[in-house]
């Protein structure tokens, strides 16, 4: 298992998670973060700090988020590591909870 960043991170990208991650396993794309599944140690610290509740335990991943399991694994190997918190994207609040954001994912 690993923890997985799901769809609601897209176009929000709060980075509270990267500060609590003890193993620095977050990777940053233009408008989303992902978790490297081999580096994640399943400590769960990132789940409660995400302001938009975008992070799931792999075993609790909702059916409609299933594609993000592979997507996290794939993008974590191409995007750069992020370990320091920074401001969220400008319209983060407006995009929080918007359905269908996955088509807006920038790689």
């Amino acid at each position: 298992m690993t923890f997985v960043v799901g769809e609601n991170c897209i176009k929000c990208k709060h980075t509270d998670c990267v500060e609590v991650c003890p193993v620095n396993c977050f990777y940053e794309g233009p408008n989303m973060l992902v978790i490297h599944p081999d580096e994640c140690i399943d400590c769960a610290l990132c789940v409660p700090v995400c302001p938009v509740k975008a992070i799931y335990a792999g075993s609790d991943l909702p059916m409609d988020q299933a594609m993000f399991l592979d997507l996290n694994a794939q993008l974590a190997t191409t995007w750069p590591s992020i370990t320091v918190r920074k401001p969220a994207l400008p319209d983060a609040d407006r995009w929080n909870g918007e359905p269908g954001k996955r088509v807006l994912l920038e790689r």
Partner: protein
């Protein structure tokens, strides 16, 4: 600039600490962890790891899912590739790492027999004896099935002395440093003893969890420098990572150690390692035999040996092993004899063996107290004196207690000792130190797994282990 705690509670490192932290590099690790039975049940575990559970075992575990006997609710299943490789050829290690329906057959026991929450003045800190224990991580690289920190690892809710109920939280640097500074200044103002508890200055902090070695180097470094600057002289790191993922002790970790020692030369590190069985660090052939090392002793697993040798080179740190004696894993004198001998040869001191706690979900792992004493005593026959430093300890609410002796002989004229007796010795009281060395004698009960097994046969109780807890609380 000295370290400060801002009004928001966020800890800001001093310039000295920051200079150290700027040198720290965090390595990246691929532990190849499998978490949860799901991957074994649905066949998505890596090919070779699927063999860890038989089809029959998986079936019986799957049947418990969602019931009160769900073993994963008690303790999530988690194993590294490294430990799996070791366990392949070791029934003992399989008992340690594999979920079994036996775990939840008998759910009697107490949630917290050591009454730890009574000693928690700050979230994530247990202040007992002269030592503060802090929870810095809520997981390990793999999970021992017998783990007694299940409330933390499995995120269970615990009751506090004030009656509130919440999951156990992790320690935060700012609040721990503030507590140490306040405690130590109260002690200093009062001539060396705390005015309420009588405790001395906090000199030593044990980082625990979970396993601190799952943290990145930079997180460990942040804790160490903050503790050093708060006046802590000895930092203990309680870890099983040498067994679960020895590659964690890599170049970046040792570079961090050396930078830390340069920055804080007066602070000592005490690595409290956790080996239960020599199969966790010795090479075995297919028939299960260890290999002789032509240079002396037995051959170790290469990565573990490398880590131990590198740790051992640093004279400012010590390495101590402590492990519970667990049914089906290491309740065997020959196993413990080999382990004590090999560890001591490699600069690891044998510190404590523990009796299991009478905790919920532990009946399958408990070895009776008197049997554990016999196993350890038997294991130490034929060892050299320096290899036999380990004592058998059982953690009473009032403090750490040694099971010092068990005899079959009656004490002439003393009723209750017809079948022999057990000598218990208080090593440290939980609150402060005045009762050290006091003794309790009880009549034998070969089935006893906890102090309660002796309630009806106390012969002599200088240590006060069987007097009313409510009267003695904090004494």
């Amino acid at each position: 600039m000295a370290a400060v705690i801002t009004s928001a509670g966020r800890y800001q490192h001093s310039a000295r600490a920051q200079a150290f932290l700027d040198q720290v590099e965090s390595g990246k690790y691929n532990r190849q962890i499998i978490t949860g039975l799901g991957k074994f049940l649905d066949g998505s575990a890596p090919n070779e790891m699927r063999t860890l559970y038989s089809a029959a075992e998986l079936k019986s575990l799957a049947q418990l899912k969602g019931s009160v006997r769900d073993v994963e609710k008690r303790m999530p299943v988690k194993v590294t590739q490294h430990y799996f490789e070791l366990a392949r050829n070791s029934p003992s290690l399989q008992t340690l790492i594999k979920a079994s329906p036996k775990e939840t057959e008998d759910l009697s026991g107490a949630p917290d027999p050591g009454k730890q929450m009574d000693y928690s003045p700050v979230e994530g800190l247990i202040h007992k004896y002269e030592l503060g224990l802090i929870y810095v991580a809520s997981t390990c690289s793999a999970h021992c099935r017998f783990c007694y920190r299940e409330e933390l690892i499995a995120g269970k809710e615990v009751e506090r002395p004030d009656g509130t109920v919440a999951p156990k939280g992790l320690a935060e640097i700012g609040s721990i440093v503030a507590y140490i500074q306040q405690h130590n200044s109260e002690v200093a103002r009062n001539g060396g003893r705390h005015p309420q508890t009588g405790r001395e200055r906090l000199r030593e902090i044990l980082m625990s969890g979970g396993d601190p070695m799952v943290l990145a180097n930079k997180n460990l470094a942040a804790w160490w420098s903050a503790l050093a600057e708060a006046g802590i002289e000895n930092i203990r790191v309680g870890t099983k990572e040498l067994a679960f993922f020895p590659e964690r002790f890599d170049r970046t970790f040792f570079a961090m150690l050396d930078h830390f020692h340069q920055a804080y030369p007066g602070v000592r590190l005490r690595m409290m390692v956790h080996f239960n069985h020599p199969d966790e660090f010795l090479k075995k052939d297919v028939s299960g035999q260890y290999y002789d090392d032509p240079e002396g002793g037995l051959q170790w697993v290469a990565a573990t040996k490398r880590a131990i040798v590198e740790l051992g080179k640093r004279e400012w740190l010590t390495i101590d092993n402590q492990a519970p004696i667990i049914n089906g894993i290491n309740n065997d004198p020959d196993v413990l004899r080999i382990m004590q001998r090999e560890l001591r040869r490699n600069r690891v001191e044998n510190h404590y063996f523990f009796c299991g706690r009478d905790i919920i979900g532990h009946k399958a792992f408990n070895v009776p107290i008197e049997e554990a004493w016999r196993i350890l005593n038997q294991s130490q026959k034929g060892l050299s004196g320096v290899e036999t430093h380990a004592r058998l300890s059982i953690t009473h609410y009032k403090g750490k207690t040694e099971v010092a002796a068990v005899t079959n002989q009656p004490l002439p004229g003393v009723p209750g000792t017809e079948r022999g007796f057990v000598v218990l010795k208080l090593l440290r009281s939980a609150a402060d130190a005045p009762h050290r060395g006091k003794v309790t004698i009880v009549g034998r009960n070969p089935e006893a797994i906890w102090f309660s097994g002796y309630d009806d046969r106390v012969i002599y109780d200088e240590a006060g282990l069987f007097t009313d807890v409510s009267q003695e609380c904090g004494a």
